[in-house]
Amino acid sequence: MNIEVKQLGNVQVIECGGSLDADTVSGFKKIAYDLVSGGSTQFIIDCTDLNFIDSMGLGVLISLLRRVRQRDGDVKVVSLSDDVKTIFEITRLHRLFDVCSDSETAVKRFDEIK
């Protein structure tokens, strides 16, 4: 799995490539939790190059969501491939997460709330 982090203002954009699964989840967790420890509460998970996610990958996204929502932050999920979108729908997580078409839209939605 490839992970890259970019900043858009206060928003941390985590670009995920490959598969976010039991094999790769710890790498993602470390990066995301370090950002939370550093004070970040606004996250975009950019799934442009993500082709698969399993229950453990979904689990880490949810625990990230729980942590940042406690501090009035959010995790927005953007640019889902057809497969990843289907996985979100099957697990009904498209109702829990704010799923946006792209990072730009997600950033705007963060700005709206301020």
Partner: protein, 134 residues
């Protein structure tokens, strides 16, 4: 019987991506009627969840314990079986995970995407049998 394969992997998550590549290559090789493209994602999801469970719950991270994978395509169904050395799943399956819980989604996914799921102990090994009806 249109396709049949059985093999063992070690209890290691590094096999997850090769497993998905393998099942995807099988889907490309066999007749579309035996393994329709739309069945690929459900089968990949269920296989990965069952293997995750074998690694973490049945084998508790002991890498050397083998997990047997079997895939059979016959008229009208795709049957996957994941066999581990564990004690099996004692509790009945919960209908859906707590929305905010960060675990407990594996069996839910398997039941959502497969037509029929059975967890049984045969000769002291735990068989997770997952059937996708075409």
């Amino acid at each position: 019987m249109h396709f049949q394969s059985v093999f063992k992997i070690k209890s290691d998550t590094r096999y997850l991506t090769p497993l998905r590549e393998w099942i995807s290559s099988v889907q490309k090789l066999v007749d579309e009627n035996d393994f329709p493209k739309k069945a690929l994602l459900p089968c990949s999801m269920a296989l990965v969840e069952a293997v995750d469970n074998a690694i973490f719950h049945a084998h508790d991270g002991v890498e050397d314990l083998p997990i047997e994978i079997s895939l059979v395509l016959s008229d009208g169904s795709i049957v996957m079986e994941v066999t581990d050395k564990g004690v099996g799943i004692g509790e009945p399956v919960i209908p859906g995970p707590d929305e905010m819980a960060d675990h407990g989604r594996g069996l839910f996914i398997i039941h959502q995407v497969m037509s029929k799921v059975e967890s049984k102990i045969v000769d002291g090994t735990h068989h997770m049998r997952m059937e996708y009806k075409l």
